[in-house]
């Protein structure tokens, strides 16, 4: 029984980058970014290709991050330079990314039979390999939270927040909204691609379709986390979002435990999000609609 919960915890942490990336684009920049669906699979696929060829794990993760950032940058440039609205810019990139990811992978599914070599050196916390995973993922996620919290506390980060909050005010204070949006979307997708790679690593395979529904999944984590913790500061919000990712996974684990067919997983996710949105609307005014600005 316990291993199911630990497994869900691990998965929630693996998906934390997705939640953080969606938080950054949707909440900080107020940019509804569907690119995450594409960059999640891109990260997972790229990492799987490299890992299958015995490339060290950190390097594979780094490549995934860079590719994700590039994907986000493309969307950012399409949006800021060509004036294409956020949803269409994201869909354009994601559609293109599907082919790119498939070409990169060479086939639609890559299994990863070997566990990452570094994992064996970590203490298992008495929980078997899931314990080692837990420790590794916790370290990664804590690092991400700290780095993001620091970034968003600098003048640069406050400028990013101003861009999402009031672009007119940002420009009137000499902040380039184009540069900021492009950078922010790139950073968000870098986080998402990292999550894709970690998820592929954890579940032992990458699939071109693994990104479908990522935005909704990330959004679900953000909303669940925010309604649970009601963050008042940025660091609190980052922690809340990661917590939301874990809780979201736990809820799915419970559903599966109760006999839900894995085929219905996406439907259940969508319904769960709908419920969370409904609850969010009741409990936090303006929360539900703020995700669909413009």
């Amino acid at each position: 029984m316990l291993w199911i919960w630990i497994g869900a915890l691990d998965q929630g942490l693996a998906y934390a980058g997705l939640a953080l990336g969606v938080y950054l684009t949707l909440r900080i920049l107020r940019f509804a970014d569907i690119t995450v669906d594409g960059s999640f699979a891109l990260g997972g696929g790229a990492a799987a290709v490299l890992l299958a060829q015995q490339v060290p794990v950190p390097l594979a993760l780094l490549v995934a991050v860079v590719l994700g950032a590039l994907a986000g940058m493309v969307t950012g440039l399409i949006h800021t330079r060509l004036g294409v609205n956020d949803l269409f810019a994201g869909i354009l990139t994601t559609t293109g990314l599907y082919s790119i990811t498939l070409r990169l992978m060479g086939r639609s599914n890559i299994p990863l039979t070997e566990a990452p070599p570094g994992l064996a050196q970590l203490p298992t916390l008495g929980l078997g390999s899931d314990g080692a995973w837990l420790l590794a993922l916790l370290l990664v996620v804590a690092g991400l939270i700290a780095a993001l919290a620091l970034l968003l506390a600098t003048d640069f980060g406050v400028a990013l927040r101003a861009i999402g909050n009031n672009p007119l005010m940002a420009r009137a204070n000499a902040i380039s909204t184009r540069l900021g949006l492009t950078f922010g979307i790139a950073l968000g997708n870098a986080l998402v691609a990292l999550a894709g790679a970690l998820v592929a690593l954890y579940q032992g395979f990458a699939d071109v379709t693994m990104g479908i529904g990522s935005l909704i999944l990330g959004l679900g984590a953000v909303i669940v986390g925010e309604s649970l913790l009601r963050p008042r500061t940025i660091p609190q919000a980052l922690v809340a979002v990661v917590l939301g990712s874990v809780v979201f996974r736990l809820m799915i684990a419970v559903a599966l435990q109760l006999g839900m067919d894995p085929v219905d997983l996406k439907l259940a996710t969508a319904l769960l999000l709908l419920a969370a949105l409904g609850l969010g609307r009741l409990r936090i005014p303006g929360l539900a609609s703020s995700g669909e600005r413009r």
């Binding site: 600098t154 406050v158 400028a159 101003a162 009031n166 420009r171 009137a172 000499a174 540069l179 900021g180």
Partner: protein, 267 residues
């Protein structure tokens, strides 16, 4: 000369088709440190003029020089490193989810345009900055000076407008553009903000262009009064000359402009 506007052209399509040329070779020069008050009827082009100077609207032709540097061709956020604005709508000037301290900090960084990669190193807001903001707000005697950590969105519209003015005074602007910045304020607050405006303009030694509909302000603030009608200057008075006017005289100027007089002034 600090601000030199020469041959400025701007127009817009009419709703029923056709084209309305609002500014047709508009000229205006302001001396360094001069505080110019701009009046004119609704739709005469006051906000548009400020937008053209700030670059939030693109001019069709002409030249806008600030301290000898051409602004036309620069995007609005680049111009903002030397031009500070208080916009007509109180909600436009501040970021509501950011705290007062964060808003002030952004305004202070205005000298470094772009996205301030240099800002990646500076953690925010550092204790020394906070003390400085605290002193500034205390010195200005603002009623919300102890709310540095309150999200600006939780303040009233008038309070936000006042913060916009304080923000505009930070970051060493070379030109201050104020667009009816007291329109949303109660009479007491208006008097305070106008006193603050006078004080800031004097202290900064910056050129300022202030739009207002208040005849009281038009007669008692600034070094020079200009009147705009349909995109053309129809009056330009020094503080000395302005003394002859009563509020009723000024009132009579609004919408009471003879066409021949206008063309004469334009030419």
């Amino acid at each position: 000369m600090s601000l030199e506007i020469r041959g400025l052209q701007w127009g817009h399509p009419e709703p029923g088709g056709g084209w309305r040329q609002l500014f047709e070779g508009f000229n205006l020069t302001c001396a360094t440190g001069e505080f110019v008050v701009l009046i004119g009827s609704n739709g005469s082009g006051k906000s548009t003029l400020l937008n053209l100077i700030a670059g939030t609207l693109p001019a069709l032709a002409g030249s806008v020089c600030l301290e000898g540097r051409e602004l036309i061709g620069l995007s609005d956020h680049r111009r903002a490193s030397r031009i500070a604005r208080v916009m007509q709508n109180p909600l436009d000037g501040t970021a509501p989810d950011l705290t007062m301290a964060e808003n002030l900090r952004l305004a202070e960084c205005r000298r470094r345009p772009g996205l301030r990669w240099s800002g990646l190193l500076g953690l925010h807001p550092d204790a020394r900055d906070r003390r400085r903001y605290q002193e500034l707000l205390e010195e200005l005697d603002l009623p919300f000076r102890d709310r540095l950590d309150t999200p600006v969105g939780q303040l009233s519209g008038g309070q936000r407008q006042t913060i916009s003015l304080v923000m505009a005074s930070l970051g060493e602007p070379r030109l201050l553009l104020l667009d009816e910045h007291t329109a949303a304020l109660d009479p007491r607050a208006e008097a305070k903000v106008m006193a603050l405006t006078d004080r800031l303009v004097r202290r900064l030694q910056t050129t300022a262009l202030m739009v207002t509909h208040s005849l009281e302000q038009a007669l008692h603030h600034g070094d020079r009064l200009v009147m705009l009608h349909d995109g053309a200057l129809i009056g330009d008075w020094s503080a000395q000359e302005r003394r002859q006017f009563s509020p009723d005289d000024l009132r009579a100027f609004y919408g009471n402009v003879r066409v021949d007089e206008r063309q004469e002034r334009r030419g």
